[in-house]
Amino acid sequence: MSGVNRRGVLAGLTALGAGACSDLHKTKTAQDVFRTAEDWHRAAHRLLAGRERLAPEYRPDQRSSDMRGNGSLTVDSDFYREQLANGFADWQLQVTGLVAEPLSLSIDDIRALPQRSQITRHDCVEGWSAIAEWRGPQLGTLLDRAQLRPEANFIVFRCADTLYGRPYYESIDLVDAYHPQTIIAHELNGAALPEKNGAPLRMRIERHLGYKHAKYLTAIEAVATLDDIGKGKGGFWEDLAGYQWYAGI
């Protein structure tokens, strides 16, 4: 084969690749490769950063001027509007699923738990970042009080908001659930959590991108598998648009 032919073949393959790539991501093979790559990234991060290493925390003067709201900016229900007006006096957070002692906590109950404050950076999958101070109890505290059962492998976050007609939800594994910076935030920059940022309660899962940080939190559910929830991919954006369940990249 002459060099010219080789070049032609290479150019042809490149063009074919570029053209076919447009829809190639939908094939089973591509999805298998992508999920394998995602698993490798997660395994590498877990190996390097371990269970406990913290995301960076910042000084108060390093905060951004605002914490941008994105995705759902409110909950479209009469109950939510009424609760927003009265300081979420009747809001309850359920801790359910594979736990020995299910809990139902009011906002005051949550404020009475040991608290963690952290000034951390929020990285959106779109590319922007904001820095703010969050305060709330560690998720691990709630799971311990509810006595997580050994069959539990994932923690699912149920939310009051809907997007495109579907309820928002998210999920993480137990390493992230017991990470010290995984908190249920009820305060942002020293004030009650604003409406656009998920009032009255939202998750902070600092080693993940923003779409994992479920807002307008109503329940925390311990499960063995994610298969039966939503479309089975572990979260709202994962189900709807194929976002990566591991959002540490």
Binding site: A18, R53, R121, D123, W128
Partner: protein, 220 residues
């Protein structure tokens, strides 16, 4: 002796494929938020140092905007690119390609050497001329590693392992900006690389990068 070792040839084409995927999917990711900032945070248009154009579908991957698919392409190709870079570094140090053909000495850093390289007629033999050494050296030692470093610095799962990396780069949004700028430096290299190949005997040079070619010593 062949002009290009098997490791060089394999890496060259695998890396070229990875770069095409990374570039095109990266443009989709850029389209998701078309502003660049310095420092650790940034979301406000007023804080942006650059408002980036929307890249059209014919040059993005996938062609129709899909951030999740673009991130799948990007993060998969990134593994090929990063571990490929590590592999070619190990290979070219081990097989002597780096020391023999790429490493510069003091005389490669003079204007006279650069003028002589520019005046050179026809295609260069081995080892490379001083300008080639500097170009490939900058590519392997600076540009390609910087793409990996700035990419890693944007990952919130990697950052707890090496927070200093984000600090050194000036913050997460700075890392994102440098990733974008370095992309275009790399595009500039590829354009120059392909152009020089086309004007200096494309059949022989591209053939050599496929089957290895024959090493011609310049005796420099």
């Amino acid at each position: 002796m062949k002009r290009h070792a098997l490791s060089t040839r394999l890496w060259h084409w695998v890396n070229a494929g990875a770069l095409v995927v990374l570039f095109m999917s990266g443009l989709t990711i850029s389209n998701a938020h078309r502003r660049l900032y310095w420092g650790n945070y940034g979301f406000d248009p007023a804080d942006a140092w650059l408002h980036v154009m929307r890249f059209p579908g014919w040059i993005t991957l996938p062609a129709r905007y899909n951030l999740a698919a673009a991130r799948d392409w990007h993060n998969t190709a990134a593994l090929v690119f990063a571990f490929g870079l590590l592999a070619i570094w190990l290979a070219m140090v081990a097989n002597g390609h780096f020391r023999r053909d790429l490493a510069t000495s003091a005389r490669d850093w003079t204007f006279g050497a650069w003028r002589a390289a520019l005046a050179q007629k026809g295609t260069a033999g081995m080892p490379y001329n001083p300008l080639q050494k500097l170009a490939y050296g900058a590519l392997f030692a600076l540009v390609l590693p910087l793409m990996v470093a700035t990419g890693l610095a944007m990952s919130p799962g990697f950052e707890p392992f090496a927070p200093w990396l984000v600090d050194v780069l000036g913050g997460r949004q700075s890392a994102r900006s440098i990733h974008f700028i370095t992309t275009w430096a790399l595009v500039g290299f590829v354009v120059g690389h392909v152009a020089l190949t086309l004007v200096s005997g494309p059949v022989r040079l591209i053939g050599a990068m496929v089957h290895g070619g024959r090493r011609e010593e310049t005796g420099a």
